[in-house]
Symmetry: C2
Subunit: 523 residues, 2 copies
C-alpha cells in the first residue's frame, strides 16, 4: 500500500486538476480530465470483466489512450501487457496465451494480424479498437467501453509486490519471457530516474520512442507524478520528431541511438527550433561515439544516457549531462563518452567473475544488479527466474569493465543476444525459425556491426545434401514468422559450421571476420 | 536487502573515492577516506561489543564523527540514538534506558551531565569522548576505538524493515517516544527529498542546524548518495553560518525559521557573499510570512520549504522555489507564502474529519500520511503506535485546510504541543515537572505567539492555600529538570484554572488572550 503505480497519477489529479497533462494531435487534456478518463476506462474494463490480476494487452502506437490504459490497469490491479508493435502474429499469440490475456486493444496498423491472433489466443474475450478513426467491422469501439461510465473510481488496494505489468522480452530458449514488474518496481524506478532527470511540472516529454518499451514507459511514472506534460507522436519518424519538439516546446524525450542518427541525418534538421530541449535521453543499445559527438554538436542541449534492462524496470546506470560535456570538451576525458556511466542512487551494481566475486578495476566481468527495481521474476518460467536472480542479484549477461574513476563500459554480452536499433534479439528464436526452412541442415546467427542499426543479424546456413535455397527466400521465410528487426539482413551458405571438439558451434569464429579484435564486442 | 541506509555511502565510496566528502574545520576528507573511517569505526564498535540491534547514543554537536557514527551504526545493523543536545540529564537517562543504549558518545559541552547519566543509565557499558580536544579523565577516547582497526568492513545484511535509528520526540503522556525508522524509511525519504532538492555531486551542504534533528539528518542520506560535500558548523550561530557559507561556497543548508531570523538580523549580514547558495531550506516550525518575505528579499537564492515530522522520516510536503518566487512577486499569489506547499511525490497525504473521511477543499481536518517513509512505530509503546498509525495512515495531529489549487495550510494542532524555535514541546511533560514544585495545586501550560521563537511556553499555576512562590523560582525549578527550550518563559498565578463542566481544563480560554480569533492558531 506504500508504493502503488497509480499513486503517480493520483497526485497531479488531486493537486493540479487544471494543469495541462496531454497534448496528442488535436486532443488536449488537463490532469483532471485525463484522470477522469482513466477512471471511466477502469470502470469500463471492470464492466467488461477485467479484475485484479487479469491481463490486458495493448498493440498500439503512441497516443493518450495508451497512457490511460497503463493507469486504468494499475487502478484495477489488472496487469498491462504492452506488445512490441513489430511482432508478427505467431509471436503475439504466444504472448497472449502465456499471459492469459483477456482483452486486447489494437490500432489500425496491426489489423492484418487480427485473424491469426483471434484463432490462436485461447483466453481472449474481446478485442477493442483503440485508434481514432472509423471502427472496423467486428471490433468493439474504445468509446463504447467508457461511454456512460462514472468519472470516479476507487483504486484497488494493491500491495507493493503485486504485479502491474508483463513486459515481454526475448528469451535464450527462443520463447519470449514476460518480465513481471510490481508496483514497487515501477515506483522505485520512477525515483531512480527522477534523481537523474529531475522532471518538473514544466517539463514536456515527447513519447516518440515506442510506449511498449520501458525505455519510454519508465518516464510515464516519473513525469506524471510531478505533473509534467505528455506529448505524443504516434511512431518514430525523424521529421515528425523535429516538428513536435518545435511546435510543443518539448523539453525531454528518449531516443535510441538509431533514432538519433535518423534525426541528425534528416535533410531539414537545421530548420527546426530545438532550443526548448533541456536534455535528450538515449539508451537501449550502445551509442557509437562518433554519433554521440555529432549529437552533442548539433542538438542544443546535453544528452543523458540511461543504461538498463527490462528486468530492472529499467534504469541501472546513467551518464550525466555534465559527464557528456566533459567528455566532449576535454580530450583527456573523451573516454567518458564510451562508457555507460555510473550506477544511479538506489541501485546496486557489481561486476563479478564466474564465481560471483567482484573483479578488480580494469577487469571484465558480468554486471549483476540488486535493488527495489528488480523484477519479481519471469511469468511461468521459474527456472529462467532462478537462473536470472541468484542470491538476490539479477544477472544481466552484460560484460563490463569498471575504470579507476568508477565508470563502466559494456564490452561484451554473455547471453547470445543481438541488439539492433534498440531491440533485443535472441539468436535461438531466429535460429529456430530458420531451421523450419525446407531442406535446412543446420544454422547459426550472429550479430555483426552496422552503421545504421548498431548490429544486424547475419545467418550462416548449411543445407542438406542436394538441397538448395536463395538468400532472399530464407529472409522472406523469416519475415513471415518473425518481427522484421529479428530477421537476417544477410545469409551466408557454408558447407559446414565451425565447431568445438564437443560439437558446440563456435560463433566467435564466425564473428571474428566482422568484429576483428576490438575490445568492445558489442554495438 | 533492497533499500539499506548504508547503500547511500557505499555508492560514492566505490564510485568516487577521490572526491571531497567532508569539510570540517581543518579536516578535509575524500569519500574514500571518510568511508575507511566509517569502516574502522564499525570494526571498533564491534570490538566494543556493539552488534545488530544494539543502541548507540550520540550527544554531540555537529562534526564529521557524528556523520561517521550514523553510517557505522548502519553498517553494523546497530541502532543510532541521536540525542537532542538541549535535553537535561533526567530526560537523557529516560531515553538511554528506554532504548537500552550500550554506548554513548559525548562532546565537551555536555560533560556536566555525565555523572547523572552514568548513575541512571542502566544498560550503558561505556562512554566515548568524541570531541576533538584533550580527552577528559575517565572517558574513553574516540581515537582508541578506531586505532588499529581495519579499513574494510562487510556491512551486515540488514533487511529493508530493520530499525536503523530511534529518533526521540516528545510525547503527549509526558514521556519521550522513540520513533523507530527503518532502512526503507530513511532511503525512501532520501528519494522524496531528492525529488524536491535535486542534490548533485557539486552541492555543498552545511550542517549548521543540529544533526540530531531529522530536518538536518535527512539530508545526510540524499546528499551522500550523490556524492555531495558535507560542511560542518558545530552549532548554530548566525555569524558562523554566514562565514561558513562564504568560505566554503555552500550551496544548500536547512534553517528553522528562528535561525533565519537570527541570520538576517545579524549586524554584518550584508558583508557576506552568499551567492554560492542554490537554495536555502526551512522547516520544523511555521514560517511567519513577513520573515519569509524578508528572507527572499535579502538572501540571493530562492527558499524551499519542507513540512514533515519525525514519524515521516520526515518529509511530507514541500513548497518549491518557483512557488516562493510567484508568492513573492505576484500579489494575487501571495497566499502561497503562508502555505506548507503540496505533498511530495511518493507520499500520500489526506485531510480528514474525525470519522476519517476526506474533507472538502476549504474545510479544516487532520493531516494523515501514508508512504514507505512512515515509521515502524514508537519503541516500547504499542498503544501510542496503534493510536498514531491507524489503517496504515499516520495521524499527524496537525490541522490543515487545502485550497482549490491543491496547496494546504496548517491552521491548528490537535495534539497538545507547542513548537518553539523548531523544537516540539509536549505540554504534559512541562506540566508534570511544574506539579513537582512544592506547594503547587494545579497547573497548565499553553503556547503563546512570540516574534523570535514562533511560540513560547506560558505556565498558569494555582498554589495550594497558604503557599506562595515567585515566577523566577518556578522557571528555575523547571530549568534544572527540563531542556531550557521546554521551560516556561512566564508564569501567571491564578486563583483557579478555567474548567469545563466535566472538570477538564479549558486551555482555549487561556490561549484566547494571546491568539485572539486568528485563523491560524499556530506559529
Amino acid at each position: 500500500m506504500h508504493q502503488r503505480a497509480i499513486m503517480c497519477l493520483e497526485r497531479p489529479a488531486k493537486l493540479y486538476p487544471e494543469k495541462l497533462a496531454v497534448i496528442d494531435a488535436h486532443h488536449r487534456m488537463t490532469y483532471g480530465e485525463f484522470a477522469a478518463g482513466v477512471n471511466r476506462l477502469a470502470n469500463g474494463l471492470g464492466t467488461a470483466g477485467v479484475g485484479r490480476g487479469d491481463a490486458v494487452a495493448v498493440l498500439c502506437v503512441n497516443h493518450h489512450r495508451y497512457l490511460q490504459l497503463y493507469f486504468a490497469c494499475h487502478a484495477l490491479g489488472a496487469v498491462i501487457v504492452p506488445l512490441n508493435i513489430r511482432l508478427m502474429p505467431p509471436e503475439i499469440v504466444y504472448i497472449l496465451n502465456d499471459s492469459r490475456t483477456k482483452l486486447l486493444f489494437i490500432d489500425r496498423p496491426f489489423l492484418g494480424h487480427l485473424e491469426t491472433i483471434r484463432d490462436g489466443a485461447r483466453h481472449l474475450d474481446d478485442v477493442y479498437y483503440s485508434d481514432f478513426d472509423e471502427v472496423p467491422e467486428g471490433l468493439l469501439p474504445f468509446t463504447d467501453l467508457v461511454k456512460g461510465q462514472s468519472d470516479a473510481f476507487e483504486p484497488e488496494p494493491t500491495a507493493d509486490d503485486d504485479v502491474m505489468g508483463y513486459f515481454y522480452t526475448g528469451g535464450t530458449t527462443g520463447e519470449p519471457k514476460g518480465v513481471m514488474l510490481t508496483n514497487r518496481n515501477l515506483v522505485s524506478n520512477a525515483f531512480h530516474l527522477q534523481s537523474m532527470i529531475h522532471y518538473g511540472p514544466d517539463d514536456r516529454y515527447l513519447h516518440i520512442a515506442p510506449m511498449f518499451h520501458l525505455a519510454d514507459a519508465a518516464s510515464i511514472y516519473a513525469l506524471t507524478m510531478v505533473g509534467g506534460v505528455h506529448v505524443f507522436g504516434r511512431a518514430f519518424e525523424p521529421k515528425l520528431t523535429l516538428e513536435l519538439v518545435q511546435e510543443h516546446r518539448v523539453t525531454m524525450l528518449i531516443l535510441v541511438p538509431t533514432m538519433v542518427n535518423f534525426v541528425l541525418a534528416h535533410a531539414d534538421f537545421g530548420r527546426y527550433d530545438l532550443t526548448s530541449l533541456r536534455h535528450f535521453l538515449y539508451g537501449a543499445s550502445p551509442m557509437p561515439v562518433p554519433l554521440l559527438r555529432r549529437a552533442i554538436e548539433k542538438i542544443p542541449c546535453l544528452p543523458l544516457q540511461g543504461y538498463g534492462m527490462t528486468e530492472a524496470a529499467p534504469l541501472v546506470s546513467s551518464l550525466s549531462g555534465e559527464d557528456h560535456r566533459r567528455g566532449y570538451e576535454d580530450p583527456a576525458m573523451a573516454w567518458l563518452l564510451g562508457t555507460a556511466g555510473q550506477p544511479v542512487p538506489g541501485v546496486e551494481m557489481k561486476i563479478v567473475n564466474p564465481e560471483g566475486r567482484e573483479v578488480n578495476v580494469g577487469e571484465a566481468g558480468e554486471i549483476i544488479v540488486r535493488g527495489p527495481n528488480i523484477m519479481k521474476g519471469y511469468l511461468n518460467k521459474p527456472e529462467a527466474t532462478a537462473e536470472a536472480i541468484r542470491n538476490g542479484w539479477y544477472h544481466s549477461g552484460d560484460v563490463a569493465i569498471r575504470n579507476e574513476c568508477g565508470y563502466f563500459t559494456i564490452v561484451d554480452r554473455m547471453k547470445d543476444m543481438i541488439i539492433s536499433g534498440g531491440e533485443n534479439i535472441y539468436t535461438t528464436e531466429v535460429e529456430n525459425v530458420i531451421m523450419q526452412f525446407p531442406g535446412m541442415l543446420e544454422t547459426t546467427v550472429v550479430g555483426v556491426p552496422d552503421d545504421q542499426w548498431g548490429e544486424v543479424v547475419r545467418a550462416f546456413v548449411v543445407m542438406k545434401p542436394h538441397e538448395a535455397a536463395g538468400e532472399a527466400e530464407i529472409i522472406e521465410f523469416c519475415r513471415q514468422r518473425l518481427a522484421h528487426y529479428k530477421c537476417p539482413k544477410a545469409v551466408e551458405f557454408l558447407t559446414e559450421l565451425p565447431k568445438s571438439g564437443a560439437g558446440k558451434i563456435l560463433k566467435r569464429e564466425l564473428r571474428k571476420a566482422y568484429w576483428g579484435d576490438k575490445q568492445r564486442q558489442v554495438n
